[in-house]
Amino acid sequence: MDIVTWARTRSPWLIHFNAGACNACDIEVVAAITPRFDLERFGALLKGSPRHADVMVVTGSVSRQVRERLKRIYEQMPEPKFVVAVGACAISGGVFQQCYNVMEGVDKVIPVDAYIPGCSPKPEAILDGVVKLLKSAGY
């Protein structure tokens, strides 16, 4: 493993973006960093600014109003960047399919690297998804 991959996979900084979710996935994403689940033991850190982040964790079915903001925040992230879609809504729109104001999935707007299914996924599932992403990046 070269040193760049080593550095990259040992400290993935996350940004969480709510793209019109019902908050269920969001509280589970936050729960994943709290002591019981402790995502931070993989070096992950939840950051507030997209400019500091390597991985964007997106929840929600992507409403029309949020679509441009999602793109803009994705563009602000430095390369290489990864996107994780958390929850049924972020994957396909979920229960909100055929609602007039949703885009039905994050991959309609920006490219997605990992999907974590569930409504909402348990924190264990979110951990598993992030770890799988890191493995695919050469952990």
Binding site: S63, R64, Q65, Q98, Y100, N101
Partner: protein
């Protein structure tokens, strides 16, 4: 229930029987009254000042086919009263009650967004919940805007 009937009686007397189209008490703590549209402000003022209905829970707009119903949910401790007025479908206009209920501003903007009802006298009738790029004149909760028609207008394709 007795108290609700008394409320309706006194309210009808105040507004005049010809201005109250319908009133019903479906169950304990619920009252629905339908009045003439131009009496709205008088009715709301009366209910607030004389019956102590100081809380507005929300405003519901309903496309009932040929007219738009605007339903004001006023409330006090043990009563939720639905005050209904009708607005014509072609050019729905209702008086604003923001100066009576300061909390009603956002609800009026919401009804304006989804049904196109204009509230005369509202200080700031801006868009509230629909996206910035949403086309003017598409009011999604109107029955004539089916999901497919909305999608076709905005994205140029159906589901």
């Amino acid at each position: 229930m007795e108290d609700h009937k008394r409320l309706i009686g006194e309210f009808t007397e105040f507004l005049g029987a010809e201005n109250v189209m319908e009133s019903k008490v479906p169950r304990e703590r619920r009252v629905f009254v339908t009045i003439k549209t131009d009496k709205l402000r008088d009715a709301v003022k009366y209910l607030k000042d004389h019956e102590g209905l100081t809380h507005i829970t929300t405003i519901t707009g309903i496309d009932s086919g040929d007219e738009i119903e605007v339903l004001y949910h006023l409330a006090k401790k043990d009563l939720s009263l639905g005050l209904r007025v009708m607005a014509p479908m072609e050019e729905p206009v209702v008086d604003s009650i923001v100066d009576i209920f300061n909390g009603a501003g956002l609800y009026e903007r919401e009804v304006h967004d989804i049904l196109g009802v204009a509230f005369e006298g509202h200080p700031d009738m801006k868009r509230l919940i629909l996206p910035d790029e949403w086309p003017e004149g598409v009011h999604p909760l109107l029955k004539k805007w089916t999901l497919n028609k909305i999608r076709e207008t905005i994205d140029g394709k159906e589901w």
